[in-house]
């Protein structure tokens, strides 16, 4: 019986209301327990102790991540590290190889990462890479919004059948939740076009707004652990904040039996833009944060910018095309039949650029202006606004106004009149940091009920011990501590010690299998079969992801509400 | 078009531009390259009627294909689709006996666009095993 006792730690476990208490953590057979009898003792010596980090949105596995690696050998060459006795070779900065992803996240104290966009037709690819990422527990969100089945059911108002289809997709792709990316826009990109929230998508005769609402209803009928996860229309366009707010309003009336939001909108930095063009571009983080403060049905993650070169990638094909037209850099696009699309282009966030400076400010502004940290998550939309390895920088910024002032002084001067950041005094405390990096994210994903994001009895024995005292105020030291843990413990096993990876167990893959009425499924299958008979280029029987690609499964069953 | 410094030009014959590529029968025998069907299909060189006449070669007669990189005997075949001055050989051991391994810094040998000279010959076409033997020792 493997037992671990972590003593003398100052524990931040927000889901259990523990805000920096000296407290022992006991782990037996990988789970947190009340007490232990003959444990391996880890003396935290007054350091900061948190549950393993939970990333709600990151692009770590699958077709477009790998296309990013393939077409950017110049990025691959940035992160080269030789294999060791424990670790395999590493490469890449914004598009690290699978091994580096696992090691680097674990060193930051993270033990769960959500892959944010999985094209259903290529789901097997996403899972093949997830299997190859060491240490991290994981899950993936299938893209469902530009899907012909979805649009046809939304058009017909058949919400039960839509739910039956969503259930089928979750099972077929070993998916975790409903992802929406530029609804309608990516289908229109099939013809080289795009659309906004209330435009009608030709042929399918639905609007993006209807798609979002329909999927939100289907999601709640299935009592999914997570809400719909939305990348709203018009990402990256000046003036898009109105559309973002309008999108929030769409689902205000949607009911859920779960104790969570009904919509999570992601990388909100990209959706909080004012102005009418890049010339009068300005931050509208206050308007977005104001909405979130006044309403309880929506949560956001920030998608904050990390300065430097990165690789942007999204299922939002038309958006990547616009970006490529701005930069003239290389551009890859991959539309996926009947379902979705994707685009990839490298991008440099420069502190000398007025636009990038405002973007840089907006992410942090959102985090600082949303009053309740339970409504907000720390992300960089890795690697879109910057690689995940930049999280410690953001944490130190949020915790230190001084650091923000110093950094702002190095940015384009536009920061002082088009952004709000210099006027904000708030500083996060460690409890709030713990909320936006594990407590909130686990709860928004519904994973707190499955042992993630907290250290209560029965929780997974995933613990991060940061090499800092709770009183630390030096931003540089805070950043360093959050980059390389003193210890990261995964299921009761030490995987990182003194900033070095010492063990590389396999992670689990979480997926949801919603059950619904057989008759409903049968009726849905008639339509689906027709799609496979006539339009897909893969057969229905070859489509679902086989169990072989999820060797360490964690299944969450749900039942459709009648 | 193509300069090679490592080899000397060997013999004179009809100058052609040699390309190699796939065919259906070659593909069908990818897993049975020791078969007669593969031999019949791949150990050959397609030429335009005019080029065949220039060489004084009838279909199925042997020709020697010479390049800076080697020489090989194959059967000639008439192909109307191949323009004058072009020789087509199905990809495989015979074509590869005379193509270039110089990758010009790209990792890719030169399988198409090789200066070649073709002449009539009485020599016999080597079977695949015999051809591979020429690389030994």
């Amino acid at each position: 019986m493997a037992e671990v006792l972590i003593k003398n730690g100052v524990v931040y476990d927000p889901l259990n209301g523990v805000k920096g208490e000296k407290k022992d953590i006991c782990i037996r057979d990988g789970k947190v327990v009340e007490s232990v009898t003959n444990p391996k003792v880890i003396d935290a010596e007054g350091r900061v102790v948190m549950p393993g980090g939970v990333d709600i949105h990151s692009h770590i596995a699958g077709g477009k991540v790998n296309s990013g690696r393939l077409f950017r050998p110049e990025d691959g060459r940035k992160g080269l590290e030789a294999k060791t006795k424990v670790c395999r070779m590493q490469s890449g900065y914004s598009v690290p190889n699978t091994f580096a992803i696992g090691y680097r996240y674990a060193k930051m104290g993270y033990t769960f990462v959500m892959e944010a966009a999985m094209p259903p037709l290529a789901a097997r690819h996403t899972h093949e890479e997830l299997v190859d990422i060491p240490i991290l527990d994981n899950a993936a969100l299938p893209l469902l919004d530009n899907n012909w089945m979805t649009m046809e059911y939304v058009n017909g108002g058949d919400m039960d059948l839509l739910a039956a289809y969503v259930a089928w997709i979750m099972k077929a792709t070993k998916g975790f939740g409903v992802k929406i990316v530029n609804p309608g826009g990516t289908e229109m990109w099939g013809w080289g076009k795009n659309c906004s929230l209330n435009d009608t998508v030709p042929t399918f005769d639905v609007t993006p707004a209807e798609i979002i609402k329909g999927l939100a209803e289907a999601n709640e009928k299935l009592e999914m652990p997570h809400s719909i996860h939305v990348h709203t229309n018009m990402l990256g366009h000046p003036g898009n904040f109105e559309i973002t707010k309008e999108t929030y309003d769409l689902v205000k009336g949607v009911n859920t039996v779960k104790d969570r939001q009904v919509m999570h909108t992601t990388h909100t930095q990209f959706h909080s833009y004012g102005g009418t063009n890049w010339g009068d571009f300005e931050s509208k983080a206050d308007a977005i944060a104001g909405y979130i403060n006044q309403n309880d049905h929506a949560t956001i993650d920030i998608g904050s910018v990390i300065l430097g070169d990165t690789t942007t990638m999204t299922a939002d094909g038309p958006m990547e095309y616009s970006l490529y037209q701005i930069t003239g850099r290389k551009w890859t696009n991959h539309d996926v039949e009947l379902e979705t699309g994707s685009g990839i282009t490298p991008f440099l966030y420069s502190g000398k650029s007025p636009v990038n400076t405002i973007q840089w400010a907006i992410g942090m502004e959102l985090a600082l202006l949303v009053e309740d940290p339970w409504k907000i998550a720390l992300t960089t939309d890795h690697p879109n606004a910057g690689p995940f390895i930049g999280y410690p920088i953001l944490i130190s910024m949020l915790m230190s106004k001084k650091r923000r002032e110093e950094s702002s002084a190095d940015m384009h001067k536009v920061i002082y009149d088009k952004a709000l950041l210099p006027s904000i005094d708030r500083e996060y405390d460690l409890n709030e940091i713990a909320i936006i990096t594990r407590g909130m994210t686990a709860k928004a994903l519904g994973l707190h009920e499955h042992g993630k994001g907290h250290l209560g009895v029965g929780a997974d024995g995933d613990v991060a011990i940061y090499d800092m005292s709770p009183e630390e105020t030096d931003a540089g030291k805070i950043q360093k501590a959050f980059l390389n843990t003193k210890y990261t413990i995964k299921d009761g096993q030490i995987v990182v010690k003194d900033g070095e990876v010492v063990a590389t167990p396999d992670g689990k893959t979480y997926f949801v299998t919603p059950e619904c009425d057989d008759k409903l499924t049968d009726e849905m299958m008639v339509k689906l079969k027709d799609k496979f008979d006539h339009y897909y280029t893969v057969t229905l029987n070859n489509y679902p992801v086989q169990d072989a690609y999820v060797p360490n499964p964690y299944e969450i069953k749900t039942q459709m509400r009648g | 078009m193509f300069v090679c410094t490592r080899y000397k030009w060997i013999k004179m014959g009809t100058k052609v531009n040699l390309i190699s590529g796939r065919t259906t029968v070659q593909g069908r025998n990818l897993d049975s390259k020791l078969s007669e069907e593969y031999f019949d299909e791949v150990a050959r060189c397609d030429l335009n009627k005019a080029d065949l006449e220039k060489l004084g070669v009838a279909a199925d007669e042997s020709v020697k294909v010479n390049t800076s990189y080697g020489e090989v005997i194959v059967k000639a075949k008439e192909d109307g689709g191949t323009p004058e001055g072009i020789a087509f050989m199905p990809m495989g051991p015979w074509a590869n006996a005379v193509v270039s391994g110089d990758t010009h810094g790209a990792g890719m040998p030169v399988y198409k666009g090789i200066d070649a000279e073709i002449e009539k010959t009485g020599e016999k076409v080597l079977h695949v095993k015999e051809l591979m033997q020429t690389y030994m020792g």
């Binding site: 030789a82 690290p96 690609y549 | 796939r22 065919t23 072009i86």
Partner: protein, 434 residues
Amino acid sequence: MVEVTDVVCSLCGCVCDDIVVEVEDNKVTKVKRGACSVGKSKLMGHNRIKSPAIRVNGELKDCSYDEAIKKAAEILAASRRPLLYGWSSTVCEADKVGVELAEELGAVIDNTASVCHGPSVLAIQDVGLPSCTLGEVKNRADVIIYWGANPAEAHANHMKRYSYVSKGFWTEEGKKAKKLVVVDVRATKTSKMADVFLQIEQGKDYLVFSALRAILYGHADVVPDEVGGVSKKDLLETAEMMKGAKFGATFFGMGVTHTGARQNNIVNAIQMTRAAHTHTKFTITPMRGHYNVAGINQVCTWETGFPFAVDLTRGYAWYNPGELSATDLLIRQECDAALIIASDPGAHFPGESIKHLAKIPVIQIDPFPNPTTEFADVVFPAAVSGVEAEGNVYRMDNIPIRLRKLIDSEYPEDEAILKRILDEVRAIKEKEGN
């Protein structure tokens, strides 16, 4: 007799997955539907390598798998510059073990992309690739271009399943409502079907791409009366056809990657597609040859960071195709041992490189005897993926499809053989104390 449906073909990059076969007495007795003649031949089977063997005094002598594993591991562990090559006609599960073996040995790992679409990869690394899945072409495309590709011979089901001849959502009339453009040096079975056949002079692809690019960007005035054997009139017409497309799809083959300008041809092809994209939707896709050459590129990329020609001597990945491709290594006579799996350099490499392969110890893993067997020193017969073994592969448009196992094999799978070699190499290294 059992009928098996949804059989996945393990021959070319089309990876057709709607094949129906009959199986009786652990044999595929009939291919009923779905496969082209090439795929059918694959499914029905061929002569096999019967036994593991080790070359002694110039002759292959049958031996046990244990003996062959031991010998192979000894060769590899003793090698100072091993080359692990092939990986395209096997499944990703085996390819992963291959990368691990290369890492353990500090080997160079390269795959058949370096002799088919390696230049395409280099071009993609330069400018990217605006592409799509084959179903997008099926459902939307009304202008199809095959450039330096002859699918009627090399990818026989491509037009029927995915492009010109297929019928989809917005293309229900099939080829009647589509235009087919073929660009090639020779008249081929494919060019005979074309609405427009541009017969270009060999090696002039770059010029013709440039001319079309210029026209599509509105600079027809700079194009001379004839480019690469094609008249300006034909070029203008082709450009108009491209501009008028609702959805255009370009497919290119080894006619473009194998000729003089190599990756520069492909960069230009992609730039032409971008130019067309300023008028309408246009995509471009390489016609990948082997059924899983796309897959080894995927696996190699997510594990090492790079798709082919990767040197692991330093313990981390070093990528430099013009230096580290199998051909480059062999021409420089640099590698001192090679493991060849799921490919046949004996048939498909230039004679110059085969000369060096014939000199060094070569380990071959393959179901079938082929020219490489003639100089291999250790030979492992393996199960046929897609007939006797299952596993994931990536279609030419990078869609993952799991091959099915139809019958039992008396031979082990590639993955199992590689794992045993890896274990044995580790055991040797442990004994030697490193």
